[in-house]
């Protein structure tokens, strides 16, 4: 008889992540930080903002700042195309749209499989919860500490 799922989950706790690709990076954000996914519409650039703020867009009657994670993590530069998506990320009272080239979906990842961020890595490692290895090196997913990332983004923006 198959073991009871609740018992199995207790034995092997999991965490759910919203996974996506941007540039060459495969990233995951805790699903509780993600409200919804939408098409990247018209962006209004903002003067004198940090380069990782691509602009703002109107969404459900609110103004959403749009963040380029590649620029934020110093890993390149996102491009907005017809297939580009934004996911609406939230942490406390802060809400932002994050650019994603491809949505990989929700994945339940066993906590035991989450490896710590690489020691001696670049500055972007401080915003990682950990890494999940895939079958190949290109299949690994970097798990983002979204609350910390949004907090840092805000600090960098207002400190200018």
């Amino acid at each position: 008889m198959a073991p009871d799922r609740a018992v199995a989950a207790q034995a092997r706790p999991e965490q759910e992540f919203f996974c996506f690709r941007v540039g060459d990076l495969r990233l995951g954000v805790p699903s509780e930080n993600v409200l919804e996914v939408l098409r990247a519409g018209l962006l209004t650039p903002l003067p004198r903002t940090p380069s990782f703020i691509m602009g703002v867009t109107g969404h459900r009657g609110e103004v959403l700042p749009v963040v380029d994670l590649l620029r934020f993590l110093s890993k390149g530069e996102a491009r907005i195309g017809p297939r580009t998506r934004l996911f609406v990320g939230i942490s406390g009272s802060y809400v932002a749209g994050i650019v994603a080239d491809t949505v990989l979906g929700l994945r339940r990842i066993p906590v035991s499989e989450i490896l710590p961020p690489p020691l001696g890595g670049d500055a972007s490692a401080e915003h990682l919860l950990g890494v999940v290895q895939g079958p190949g090196a290109q299949d690994s997913i970097n798990l983002i500490n979204f609350s910390k990332l949004l907090q840092t983004a805000r600090q960098r923006a207002v400190a200018r």
């Binding site: 209004t44 003067p47 004198r48 903002t49 703002v56 109107g58 103004v63 805000r154 960098r156």
Partner: protein
Amino acid sequence: MNDEQAPQAQEEVDILFFDIGHSLYGTDASQVLRIDRSLPEDITLSELGLPHRGHRALVFDTPEGEGHLKVDAVHAVRAIPLSSLRRMPPTAGAAPYAVGVCLEEARAVLLIDLVETARTQGNQGRH
């Protein structure tokens, strides 16, 4: 129908829409004294985009005298419901003259405080 049943008048503000380069902006129309021909010394802020031709200038009052912001085109003054205006999100940390956003269907039009553009440039153009 008595007064209690009358629909409440929606508060509105007159917004003047204008272009600089490829970008559309809005400003509180009450700040604008007149629209004039531009002169070379008028205000241009590269962060707002460089004007294509910039043959017009929005003239506004500042404590130091008149300020002149060079623009490409002035579209219209429209009464916009206050409910369509939003403050700049704190996460954005935009320039002080970018005071908010006017939501026009799917489009978000940046609202500019003209006096702050003059402060930013540190130069009020002609006086």
